[in-house]
Symmetry: C2
Subunit: 148 residues, 2 copies
């Protein structure tokens, strides 16, 4: 019951992008350095975030990755779901596949409650607010690392 | 970020065993029928629950599986952890592998909070209380199914 490495890196890179001045782009090597993520893996993650409409990938000389307005309003839940699909703690909670045992199964309501508790935290933790928590010093360290 | 099928079945079988009169044993086919679990898969789950000290497996003519006192006091968290090991939502929360980024990473505290919210629900949902919620009618349906 663990998020994937992809989701972990996706959250990191989204927070990093949200901590940059609006409209600023960064290259894949810069983002990999800032998030401590392997470049080739991060490339796939950025593709998925781009497909989900959270970031924009621009090619060319002034290319790079930047946050889209919808990405700036995203929660941690949104980012994780962009990577893994809908967050469901147990198959019995899948909306398209309602569990036949649900009315006689006392654990069903616990799964529902655990899921609500989890989504409540992840759905109210906004990427932009987390980015704002980073001290300018931390962002500067990242930027220096990017330049190196 | 989903529990394994094994954990789901483990919770089901523990609740079923806890709803039986104390000391009553049931066979693998009876338990498989009561939990809608495939017998061969359930056999492995019962082995793991037995290794974790939650149930007792007795061989022989009056053999079968029964709940041990420690199993009767188990929470859903205990049962899931008996199957999957310690519940950690993200690798950065592993106690033996503290994340180097933790002091500069704003998402770390969200992972901590999400994990606490999840464990709070699963750790306070006791198998015996869930078993007591089952109506006698439900248990009877299971028992009839077991006899069939």
């Amino acid at each position: 019951m663990q998020v994937t490495r992809a989701s972990d890196y996706a959250v990191r890179v989204m927070i990093h992008l949200a901590s940059l001045p609006e409209g600023e782009r960064q290259s894949l090597p810069q983002l990999a350095a800032a998030t401590d993520a392997p470049e080739s893996f991060l490339a796939k993650i950025l593709q998925a975030l781009s497909r989900a409409g959270l970031i924009l990938a621009r090619r060319g000389k002034i290319g790079g990755f930047e946050l889209l307005p919808i990405g700036r309003q995203a929660s941690m839940r949104d980012v994780i779901e962009a990577m893994e699909g809908p967050l469901v703690l147990n198959v019995c909670l899948l909306s398209g596949d309602p569990c036949e045992r649900k009315h006689q199964c006392p654990s069903h309501r616990v799964w529902v409650k655990a899921q609500e508790a989890l989504l409540n935290v992840l759905g109210t933790s906004m990427i932009s607010e987390l980015a704002a928590e980073r001290t300018p010093q931390t962002v500067n360290i990242d930027l220096k690392k990017d330049e190196a």
